[in-house]
Amino acid sequence: MIDGRANGGRANGGRANGGHMTEGRVAEDPASIPLPAALAEIAVDFLAMSARDRLTLLLDFSDELPELPERYVGHAELLERVDECQSPLFLVVEVERDATVHRFFQAPPEAPTTRGFAGILREGLDGLTVGEVLAVPDDAPYRFGLGEAVSPLRLRGMVAMLGRIKRQVRSKST
């Protein structure tokens, strides 16, 4: 089996150096609220690639989506189902005392696109505080150039994921 990331995935996608370009890229659109740094870095990586390589990177995110922590395994009642995804996705948000947010996702291997979306949000929102998560613009899913790679229709699932994460953050931080 040949690993898909060999042609243009994260391993040689130049992500490590992407961070400092972030502000310039986002600022090109004055109407946009900026993405948090990690998410902006992911966006830069995607936008630097051809549509085909974006799919490869999305597959990397899918492959690398971690399993649910032990405490949630077998506890479907603790997870929120994201109905807007074509394939079933479940998520749960934890808010620590210092307001740091953690997100956990579960989606089957037969749903790699959904898993990839979840992987982007997991990594891109990593370690953010409540305020920072709530400040993420709702149109963030459209800023990765994925519309042409997977079709805008399919991006609705990611918009819904972000919306539900923010809603859980709001309710768990008050």
């Binding site: 089996m1 040949i2 690993d3 898909g4 799919l55 490869t56 999305l58 597959l59 899918s62 492959d63 109905d83 807007e84 995804c85 074509q86 394939s87 079933p88 291997p109 037969e110 749903a111 790699p112 696109t113 959904t114 990839g116 790679a149 997977v150 079709s151 229709l153 399919r154 609705r156 819904a160």
Partner: protein
């Protein structure tokens, strides 16, 4: 036909046995290196655009129902020029035998096959049982994308009318046999999408007046293969009292599940005149002043 048919005894009962191949047949052709040349091309067509990339049948090429077969602007299929490009890039010429397989009991594979038929591609077949059966049998998968040599596919104009129905055709068809292949909840008007899918896409629920509810999945066995001819006849001929000479319209939500039923009626049972209404419920349930029936019957 560029490649011999699969002389599987189950298929022999169907009206058009040449439209199906078994996983054994395909594995045999793979073993002798007969896949990926101009004679035989294998395509994967899935709901999830990345599923192919997670691992696919060796030598298979991806075709995406949305990005490759639908027009990017108009709600319609691609035109002859774009279709020629999509097929040519995949090493398919007009005489190539194309075998399509996919996820979800071959919905999207049947949908792709139906679109190929709009363009009159003659030899296009489904892998019985689709991706799930291949995986369940522990057969080989790879992430290796085959290097495809582009060939020239002719620009052919689509011929929609024999197998595709538009809204006005359906309005004129009311009173004649129509098959609604969605789930019972969608048929009755309780749900606007399949159970477990987002409830979006239509302003009204219900079904087209006079349509019979025959969920697509009734034609599929548990392993995703098609049921045998006798079982299919019991459903569509005996129970639903359809006859092979009837003029029939099938629909679902966007035309993918009804492609599966279109395949069953046309190729497995040999019905003469079945049209797929691809506008389906996302058009009918949003259209102004079209008649709608609600309830289970």
């Amino acid at each position: 036909m560029a490649v011999s048919t699969d002389h599987n005894s189950k298929f022999a009962d169907y009206a058009h046995p040449e439209r199906l191949v078994s996983t054994e047949w395909l594995a045999g052709h793979l073993n002798v290196g007969a896949v990926g040349n101009r004679d035989l091309v294998v395509l994967e067509s899935d709901e999830d655009v990345l599923l192919y990339d997670t691992g696919h049948i060796p030598g298979a090429v991806k075709v995406d129902w949305h990005l490759d077969l639908n027009d990017a602007v108009t709600r319609d299929y691609v035109d002859g020029e774009r279709f020629a490009q999509v097929l040519g890039e995949r090493g398919i010429d007009r005489d190539t035998t194309v075998v399509i397989y996919g996820d979800k009991s071959n919905w999207w594979a049947a949908y792709a096959l139906w679109v190929f038929t709009l363009f009159g591609h003659e030899d296009v077949r489904l892998l019985d049982g689709g991706r799930a059966k291949w995986v369940a049998e522990g057969r080989e998968l790879t992430r290796d994308v085959p290097a495809q040599t582009a060939v020239g596919y002719p620009v052919v104009e689509r011929n929609d009318s024999p197998i595709r129905a538009f809204k006005d055709d359906v309005l004129a068809h009311i009173g004649q046999p129509m098959v609604d292949v969605r789930s019972p909840g969608e048929f009755s008007g309780e749900l606007l999408h399949m159970p477990d899918y987002p409830q979006e896409g239509a302003m009204r629920g219900g079904h087209i007046p006079g349509a019979r509810s025959v969920p697509w999945a009734r034609a599929a066995a548990e392993d995703g293969t098609f049921k045998g001819r006798a079982e299919l006849e019991a459903i569509y001929l005996t129970e639903q009292e359809l006859t092979p000479t009837d003029d029939i319209v099938a629909y679902c939500r966007i035309g993918e599940r009804s492609s599966h039923t279109w395949f069953v009626l046309t190729h497995l049972l040999g019905f003469d005149s079945v049209r797929n209404y691809d506008g389906s419920w996302t058009e009918w349930g949003n259209a102004v002043r079209v008649p709608i029936e609600v309830g289970a019957k």
